[in-house]
């Protein structure tokens, strides 16, 4: 199969970058599987107390129970659903809005472009997490509100990247030609400019999702994200913190590890893809 052949060739030529990308992809796939198959693989209902509180890991509870007697393993599995839903949705929303704005702003230029750029640059300079906290604080806790809060943070990222691409493509000959032939603005943007913008998106998207995972975990950890009793890794991390120093390490450690692993998976995927598609250095 051609795909396997090119993969093998890549592995030989750029072993480090290819293995990193594959590792990242594997992690993401595993997480996606976990989220999709949650009802099938989780042994207990994550919302319900099923045993005594704070039981250490055992055969019936591989990750022990939390302070309310819920099975940590099931909460971790179901948590992947919430986290992935929130994170993927918000990043897609950011991408859609940011790309659209960047496309329009870069293409039409002028006052609109200048105004939007200043606004976006200002937001971009502001600490993302604190912006998300501000939104989350005003909107209140909840899954949908968390999605909104996170989306806002990443819109400027896409805006800037897309606008940059648009500006460099805008003055190419074939765009000029299309204009001369009387193509409408919409058509030009859709058929000529957008296809040149799309290639850069996967890498940005991947790295963005990694960041969004950490932001979502932060919001829930700080108490302004996904609320109880919904299973969420960030929330569970905080919940287990008070008993951590007494020696009950399992209620926070496992959700904590999942957060890092998921963020790592998307990071490796994004970084690896970036190196493979835009190799920065040869010898």
């Amino acid at each position: 199969m051609m795909l396997l052949e090119s993969l093998a060739k890549l592995l030989r030529r750029r072993p480090v970058d290819t293995s990193l990308t594959l590792a990242g992809a594997a992690i993401v796939a595993a997480m996606a599987f976990m989220a999709l198959a949650a009802p099938l693989i989780a042994p207990y209902d994550p919302y319900v107390s099923v045993d005594k509180a704070l039981l250490p890991p055992s055969s019936s509870h591989p990750m022990g129970t939390d302070n309310l007697g819920r099975d940590v393993y099931s909460r971790v599995i179901y948590g992947s659903r919430i986290v992935l839903t929130v994170v993927l949705t918000s990043t897609l929303v950011s991408m859609a809005i940011g790309t659209a704005l960047g496309l329009v702003s870069g293409y039409f230029g002028g006052v609109l472009d200048r105004a939007l750029s200043v606004v976006m640059d200002s937001i971009y300079a502001f600490p993302g997490l604190i912006l998300a906290i501000a939104f989350a604080a005003m909107l209140g806790p909840g899954v949908y509100n968390t999605i909104v809060s996170i989306s806002v943070v990443y819109i400027p990222t896409y805006f800037r990247m897309v606008r940059g691409q648009v500006l460099s493509v805008k003055s190419s000959l074939y765009v000029e030609a299309a204009k001369a032939l009387g193509a409408s603005h919409g058509r030009i943007m859709w058929r000529y400019i957008l296809p040149n913008v799309l290639p850069i998106l996967p890498v940005i998207f991947s790295m963005n999702v990694a960041d969004a995972v950490l932001t979502e975990a932060a919001l829930s950890f700080l108490g302004v994200g996904v609320p109880a009793p919904t299973p969420d890794w960030g929330f569970d991390l905080r919940n287990g913190q008070r008993n951590l120093l007494a020696g009950y390490w399992w209620p926070s450690t496992f959700p904590g590890i999942m957060i890092v692993v998921l963020a790592l998976g998307f990071s490796l995927l994004g970084e690896g893809l970036n190196e493979l598609l835009n190799p920065s250095r040869r010898w």
Partner: protein, 337 residues
């Protein structure tokens, strides 16, 4: 130097719209978004008169544009508002009380991240293509993907609980007495000759700085590596080697110095990340800074304080951005044009 002055003026002018936009954004978030702040504060159980009084007090009965004008004009006077709970202190006073703590932590974290970044980045650049390089690059990706509370809790467990070397929370031990001159325990202890206080402050600063520093170093490692690789490809490096200059001098005396300028550029931009990371670090270690303050007041629905604090962040970021830009213009004349 005339051009430097011109640059500063230009840059200041540019700051005004930026600050205005951020302040407007905060206003939009705080006032325009759905969610009635008043009922959020007092709940449904109070009398309608009480609710009305609160509304008037907060200025929420006026039309939106009037609220906006009030908002901006009070900010111009340096008034960040007043807290709605307890002693009704001025927000600016409360922030000022806690600012040294956050600053201390930020400096500590920044220092750790730069040191780690310089060491690992340089090593990775020098050993480019080897297993060490790959390992360090992966380590930097892992570090950046690390969730601060997770790392913090791990360090707390290992160093605080099992090994008992460092304290797991707080800024100083209760038995140490440090007079409040600057607000920085470290500085105040030094000034008053309180050696025990100095060590106590550092002891408490250790784990939080390490946590923040390790996570932030992820970016620096990559940056230093890239910058060093660029410099190491320059002709003068080869010329230095041809003169028999020992490799250690080539790397640390010549290459690193030259690599520093682009790194410096990035450091300024990372300030926002530092602030965000500080919030998480403070929460994890119960560090009494602005981050914990913000989250605490959000929980108490102290709406005015929350707004004032966010505004403070906006102003802080703008100020630092301005200072950094001016510093670069001073150091590198090319940027002025």
């Amino acid at each position: 130097m005339a051009s430097l002055r011109a640059f500063i003026v230009m840059r200041l002018l540019l700051t005004v719209p930026m600050v205005l936009i951020l302040l407007t954004l905060v206003f939009v978030v705080m006032r325009v978004l759905p969610g009635d702040p008043v009922t959020a504060i007092v709940g449904m159980k109070t009398s309608p008169e009480h609710i009305e009084r609160l509304r008037r007090e907060l200025g929420l009965d006026k039309p939106l544009w009037a609220q906006y004008v009030d908002y901006i004009s009070s900010l111009l006077r340096g008034d960040l508002g007043r807290s709605m709970i307890w002693g009704r202190r001025r927000v600016i006073d409360e922030i000022w009380d806690r600012f040294p703590a956050t600053l201390e932590l930020s400096i500590g974290g920044f220092a750790v991240s730069v040191i780690i970044g310089l060491l690992t980045g340089t090593t990775a650049a020098v050993k480019r293509g080897t297993a060490t390089d790959a390992a360090l690059r992966v380590a930097s990706i892992v570090a950046y993907a690390m969730f601060i509370p997770v790392l913090g809790m791990m360090l707390q467990l290992v160093f605080g609980v099992y090994l008992r070397i460092f304290p797991v929370a707080g800024r100083k031990s209760p038995w140490i007495d440090v007079p409040k001159i600057t607000g920085f325990y470290l500085v105040d202890s030094l000034i008053t000759g309180n050696i025990e206080g100095v060590f106590d402050a550092l002891w408490h600063l250790a784990l939080p700085s390490l946590t923040l520093g390790i996570v932030l170093s992820g970016i620096y490692t990559r940056l230093v590596r890239a910058s060093m690789l660029d410099v190491l490809e320059e002709d003068f490096i080869r010329a230095l080697r041809a003169r028999g200059i020992p490799e250690s001098a080539v790397i640390f005396k010549h290459a690193l110095k030259n690599a520093f300028v682009p790194i410096l550029t990035m450091m300024g931009l990372q300030f926002a990340l530092l602030l965000a990371g500080a919030v998480l670090t403070e929460t994890t270690f119960s560090w009494p800074g602005i981050g914990t303050f913000l989250m605490e007041r959000i929980e108490y629905r102290d709406y005015t304080t929350v707004q004032g604090t966010i505004v403070f962040y906006a102003l802080l970021v703008s100020a630092i951005s301005l200072i950094v830009d001016i510093l670069y213009a001073y150091v590198d004349p090319r940027i002025r044009y």
